[in-house]
């Protein structure tokens, strides 16, 4: 390397290259198989190293007591050189007479899989490199699997270190047939298998006599056959919204066209909400004149005709062929982080610019990505370097695509703590247009998806329910109701008390105490409770409600609509209630001042099969309240039969 401060001489020439896109190639494979050496060789043998580089590498190799290590071109960190291992991925520009490349070196050590994925995810094509002597190893398989998940289809297999196996063709053929079989299971068909020696520079830029039996291309020739993998032109529009700027009076929507194209004047629909407007303009600073259209890959800024509510994360599409939307996705996931990913623990899911809290609700299967064998049993957790098929549920609806349809909006990452822990691709998606084609939806206009009871429950984190507390005056209904409401409130469960006495001040003010009026009183309370539960609240009804028929009627009202209903019998003997007599009502009733007083002058029909019975005369208030709270929390829990099943199996029950 230049250490002198003297001016350096630069030759001049008038060669120029077209500015076509650069082809990105990643080199992957098992640790120590020679990936970095191959890249170093490639640069060296195509005369692409800057002046002084060879000298610098020679010095570094000597200092580490090694022969000349081509890998040190990439393994530039002292730690990498000392251990002769690649820690992190490197990208280097490279050019041949034909075109320009970016060569990406990836580490082969299992520990650094996150760095391998970081390097490989942006590649158009890959070289899977295998040591002829060691043959197929753990990462040879795992890396191949990850390439298939990353959607990299163009693959060449380099069989390296042929010098160590005496250049024998049988050895090469053995690796070729073993690996072909494995890759076949992943649907990968390599374009070529190339025998080579990175260290000695054989079959790198041209055919070598030692490997004359190989009829296919040398590595460089194989590279030149790769194609840029751009998304097809005919994909529908996906405009991923990054931000909304209001630097002046304009409201500018900034984002990228991941697929398709966009024209001024066209209708654009934003998902997951489905609000639509027209594109009024495409804004571009310093443009000779404002553009009227924008193409795939462009980062653009647009304004809309009508001011609709859109926000970062939204995906814009044409009215037809919008993305799927929903709360649940089925995906294949790879996990890179040391801490495993368990079922039901919230994380952040990022897809496009959407960022939403989500969790795994089902792990269908976990694969050992180095063997493709499903792990035995059902672990209920995904460990580092494993891949799994999962079902994920988000806190709110998101817009997405099936990965094989539109990969840009069909993949996501999972963030736990402050770091990306893994990624996934979406396997299934139900599209509106497909549903329509199947004749499922008659209505051709795009309607806002209805807010359902389930979606409300998801927002609240629990479902609505009715707890009907019945019992004699003085049995403890009001005390328990207020206590319960407090405890539910503390747990973040939204609840409300409907109290018989309170209702009589308003909703039921026109009712008296005749049998008929009592019935009507209960009916109104029941209907109100049902509505409130429908809205998502846990409704605590505290009414004497002495007649079985009336209570059964409320039960029917609720159950008809699928609202969880529980009759809670607050049971205390009449003499205890009368002794308590908190408001002096028994005394008045005994004195004949109150007519038709339940228990004294009017009957109380005790429940025959209450969901819960609390004997307040036999237990302390604290204990009773605890039982009631547990019961209420369970009743309001969103049912997850699948999860329950998984957990039961995971626990070996």
């Amino acid at each position: 390397m230049q250490t002198t401060l003297e001016p350096t001489k630069v030759p001049t020439s008038d060669i120029s290259l077209p500015t076509s896109q650069k082809l990105r190639i990643v080199i992957v494979g098992h640790v120590d198989h020679g990936k970095s050496t191959l890249i170093g060789r490639l640069f060296h043998d195509t005369n692409s190293l800057p002046e002084g580089k060879v000298e610098q590498i020679r010095k570094a190799s000597e200092l580490e007591g090694m022969e000349f290590e081509f890998a040190f071109l990439l393994d530039a960190l002292l730690e990498e050189q000392a251990q002769n291992i690649t820690i992190d991925t490197t990208q280097l520009p490279f050019r041949t007479e034909k075109r320009e490349y970016v060569i990406i070196d990836a580490p082969g050590h299992k520990e650094f899989l996150k760095n391998m994925v970081t390097g490989a995810a942006s590649a158009d094509a890959a070289i899977l490199l295998i040591d002829a002597n060691e043959g197929i190893q753990e990462q040879s398989k795992r890396h191949a699997y990850l390439l298939s998940l990353l959607g990299i289809r163009q693959i060449v297999v380099a069989v390296n270190k042929m010098d160590l196996v005496g250049y024998r063709q049988e050895r090469f053929e053995k690796v070729r047939s073993d690996y072909t079989e494995f890759l076949g299971k992943l649907g990968i068909v390599p374009q070529h298998f190339v025998p080579m020696s990175a260290k000695l520079g054989l079959n790198i830029t041209q055919a070598s006599p030692e490997l004359a039996w190989h009829k296919g291309p040398a590595i460089l020739e194989a590279l030149e056959q790769f194609q840029i993998s751009a998304p097809p032109d005919d994909l529908p529009l996906r405009f991923v919204l990054q931000d909304i700027y209001r630097f002046d009076e304009r409201r500018i929507l900034a984002g990228r066209i991941e697929t398709g194209s966009l024209q001024v004047g066209q209708e654009i629909v934003f998902w997951p909400d489905g609000k639509s407007s027209r594109v009024k303009s495409i804004e571009e600073w310093n443009a000779p004149e404002p553009p009227t259209s924008a193409l795939v890959g462009e980062s653009v800024a647009i304004t809309l005709e009508e001011q609709i509510f859109v926000e970062r994360g939204d995906i814009g599409s044409a009215p037809d062929h919008g993305p799927a939307e929903g709360r649940e996705i089925h995906a294949s996931l790879f996990w890179l982080q040391n801490d495993p990913l368990p079922l039901n623990v919230p994380f952040t899911l990022k897809l496009g610019t959407q960022s939403v809290e989500a969790r795994l609700v089902e792990i269908t299967r976990v694969l050992d990505s180095s063997t493709l064998e499903p792990l035995a049993g059902n672990p209920g957790i995904i460990h580092k370097n494993e891949v799994a098929d999962v079902r994920i549920r988000a806190r709110k609806p998101i817009a997405f695509d099936r990965h094989d349809r539109i990969s840009e909006t069909g993949r996501f990452v999972i963030v736990t703590g402050k770091r990306i822990g893994g990624g996934g691709i979406i396997r299934e998606a139900e599209y509106q247009d497909e549903k329509r084609l199947a004749g499922a939806a008659e209505n051709l206009t795009w309607t806002v998806s209805p807010v359902t009871r389930e979606s409300r429950a998801e927002n609240f984190g629990h479902r609505g329910a009715v707890l009907w507390l019945t019992g004699l005056s003085g049995s403890g209904k009001s005390t328990l109701a207020t206590g319960l409401e407090y405890h539910l409130h503390r747990r973040g469960i939204f609840s409300y008390i409907l109290d018989g006495d309170n209702l009589r001040h308003g909703l039921c003010a026109n009712l008296g105490f005749s049998a008929e009026d009592r019935s009507e009183n209960i009916r109104r309370a029941g209907e109100t409770a049902r509505l409130m539960a429908e809205a998502g609240l846990v409704v605590i009804c505290s009414l004497i409600s002495p007649f079985r028929a009336d209570r059964d009627n409320v039960r029917k009202i609720c159950q008809r609509d699928g609202i969880p209903f529980a009759e809670v019998f607050i049971n205390a003997p009449l003499d205890v209630c009368e002794a308590r007599d908190p408001r002096g009502l028994y005394k008045k009733a005994r004195a004949g001042e109150i007519k038709e007083f339940t228990g004294i002058t009017s009957p109380y029909e005790a429940p025959l099969a209450p969901e819960l019975e609390l004997r307040t005369a036999e237990h302390t208030l604290d204990n009773t309240l605890l039982d009631l709270t547990h019961f209420a929390v369970e009743l309001s829990r969103i049912p997850e039969p699948q999860i329950a099943e998984e957990l039961a199996r995971g626990a070996g029950i």
């Binding site: 390397m1 230049q2 250490t3 401060l5 003297e6 001016p7 350096t8 001489k9 630069v10 030759p11 001049t12 020439s13 120029s16 290259l17 077209p18 500015t19 896109q21 800057p50 002046e51 002084g52 580089k53 010095k59 200092l63 990439l74 530039a76 960190l77 002292l78 820690i87 992190d88 490197t90 990208q91 280097l92 520009p93 320009e100 760095n115 994925v117 995810a121 990054q242 931000d243 630097f247 990228r256 571009e284 600073w285 310093n286 193409l295 795939v296 890959g297 462009e298 980062s299 970062r312 890179l336 610019t353 993949r411 990452v413 963030v415 703590g417 402050k418 770091r419 990306i420 990624g423």
Partner: protein, 278 residues
């Protein structure tokens, strides 16, 4: 889209993600070619308005022409410009027992004190949570391992042995208090891409990049601009951008060959960068 369009689109995407993710963003600006491309891309990303301050770490060893350019650009682009000098180091006061400068110290030390430490001082004063830098992968092998969004701890250290994964345009945007993120939108650009883009967009740059006669009668130009005592020109006749591009396509000299601090000792750049240099 050609290659430059693609690079531009990706850089704009990154700038917008950064602006969304951080509340107190700043863009260091050296007035060099890469820095000026960053200014240009920022203008594009935000429709003509650069919504964050621009920071010049002034080592006091700046070429006078660069300072002139700084004033011109500040007005031209309507920049919210912060100029920062590590005054204590230059004056030899505060925690310094002696004035730090190229006259008395080696280039690695001076670079660290006058650039990295100056940056730390500004960060302590202004509490920026992210810095947009103009580094590129092809500049040096440790930069070749960088991420678009690269965390630095409170001591400014780069944990190059355990970088977070980054793929599918999902970036590390969450940080602990005291940490910051280096946002590096030009990582994918090669030196020649920078020039092609400057040419295509007609971006103003300091004239020192173009060849002019030296005292010995030969012609020289600067390929990379740093402090004048340690930045040497290369011999070149390239007097306009297309000649520079032609020159780059055949040169075998690395871009930073003329920057002394890079070559002071084995892996000098790794050591500088691990401690917070850009």
């Amino acid at each position: 889209m050609d290659h430059l369009d693609q690079l531009e689109a990706q850089s704009v995407y990154i700038l917008r993600e950064a602006y969304h993710s951080f509340s107190n963003l700043c863009m260091p600006w050296s007035m060099g070619k890469d820095s000026n491309v960053l200014i240009w891309l920022s203008k594009k990303a935000f429709c003509g308005k650069i919504p964050y301050p621009v920071l010049h770490i002034d080592t006091t060893y700046e070429f006078p022409e660069m300072l002139e350019f700084r004033e011109w650009a500040r007005k031209e682009y309507d920049l919210d410009l912060i100029v920062k000098i590590n005054e204590d180091a230059r004056a030899g006061r505060g925690s310094y027992t002696q004035s730090v400068g190229y006259e008395t110290h080696d280039p690695v030390t001076v670079t660290h004190e006058l650039k990295t430490v100056a940056l730390q001082q500004v960060m302590a004063e202004r509490k920026f949570d992210a810095l947009i830098t103009g580094i590129r992968r092809d500049e040096d092998p440790t930069r070749a391992k960088e991420r678009y969004f690269s965390p630095r701890n409170a001591e400014f250290e780069w944990d190059y042995k355990d970088q977070p994964p980054e793929f599918w345009n999902q970036f590390t945007t969450a940080i602990e208090p005291g940490e910051h993120i280096r946002v590096q939108p030009l990582l994918d650009w090669a030196e020649v891409d920078i020039w092609r883009y400057i040419e295509r967009e007609n971006i103003p740059i300091p004239t020192m990049y173009f060849a002019r006669p030296g005292e010995d009668g030969k012609k020289y130009r600067f390929r990379s601009l740093g402090c004048w005592p340690i930045t040497k020109p290369v011999e070149s006749t390239a007097s306009n951008i297309s000649e520079i591009i032609a020159e780059l396509l055949v040169t075998k000299t690395s871009e930073r060959a003329g920057r002394a601090q890079d070559h002071h000792e084995r892996n000098a750049m790794q050591k500088l960068r691990a401690k917070g240099f850009m």
